[in-house]
């Protein structure tokens, strides 16, 4: 349900992890590597993480979502290592009985992940590189 991995992320795995008979909605968020930042062409991105803590933060984010909204299950996975343009860097899936809760909890999860998960992004440009936060 919660993982940090160097392997490509699977949308099918995320969907299968949260789909439930008592849930009529699954909200899915996929973050992908974009080819530009502040007018510069991005050639690749490298993510690193404090893996054990990140997984623990994912569980805490899911627990908070479950306490605030009536949701069925939450799946959070983040990829690390060198990623190419278009690769999925994060996948979040949330199931709920109804769509409003699924959308709200999924939005909450990605915003909380961006603030709390100990994961770092290094962007590489045609010339130079930078650490990107926020």
């Amino acid at each position: 349900m919660f993982k940090v991995t160097t392997e490509p992320l699977s949308i099918d795995e995320a969907y299968a992890a949260v789909r439930r008979d008592d849930c009529g909605a699954v909200a899915l968020f996929i973050g992908t590597v974009r080819d530009h930042h502040d007018g510069k062409k991005v050639t690749k991105i490298s993510y690193s993480a404090f893996k054990e803590m990140a997984v623990k933060e994912f569980a805490a984010i899911a627990a908070e979502a479950q306490s605030r909204w009536k949701v069925g299950a939450v799946y959070i996975a983040h990829r690390t290592g060198a990623l190419r343009i278009g690769d999925a860097s994060v996948v979040i899936a949330v199931s709920a009985a109804h769509r409003a809760e699924a959308f709200d909890a999924c939005r909450h999860a990605i915003e909380a992940l961006k603030k709390m998960a100990p994961i770092w992004k290094e962007e590489f440009y045609e010339t130079g590189k930078a650490w990107i936060s926020g």
């Binding site: 993510y47 404090f50 803590m53 623990k56 603030k115 709390m116 100990p118 650490w131 936060s133």
Partner: protein
């Protein structure tokens, strides 16, 4: 006591290492940071850096004990 300190992202790049050990006499995270400032004076720990003891975010006043791992968490960029 000796405390292991982990550095990540830009801080690891800046220090040239991702893990080091500091010796200190106090008992809080603040004491670890003071020892770290002596052991690695080029490390820039500004207000944007957060801290963790083992796998939980912790305030500078948090207690640390032998065997704990302190992590410096520079601004994060997941997503």
């Amino acid at each position: 006591m000796k405390i292991a300190v982990q550095l990540f992202g830009p801080l690891a790049e800046q220090a040239g290492v991702s893990r080091l050990e500091v010796s200190m006499s106090g008992s809080t995270l603040q004491d670890v940071l003071a020892a770290l400032a002596v052991a690695s004076p080029t490390l820039k720990i500004d207000r944007s850096v957060r801290f963790a003891v083992n796998t939980d975010y912790a305030a500078p006043s948090a207690p640390v004990k032998e065997g704990d791992v302190v992590s410096l968490i520079p601004p994060v960029g997941g997503g």
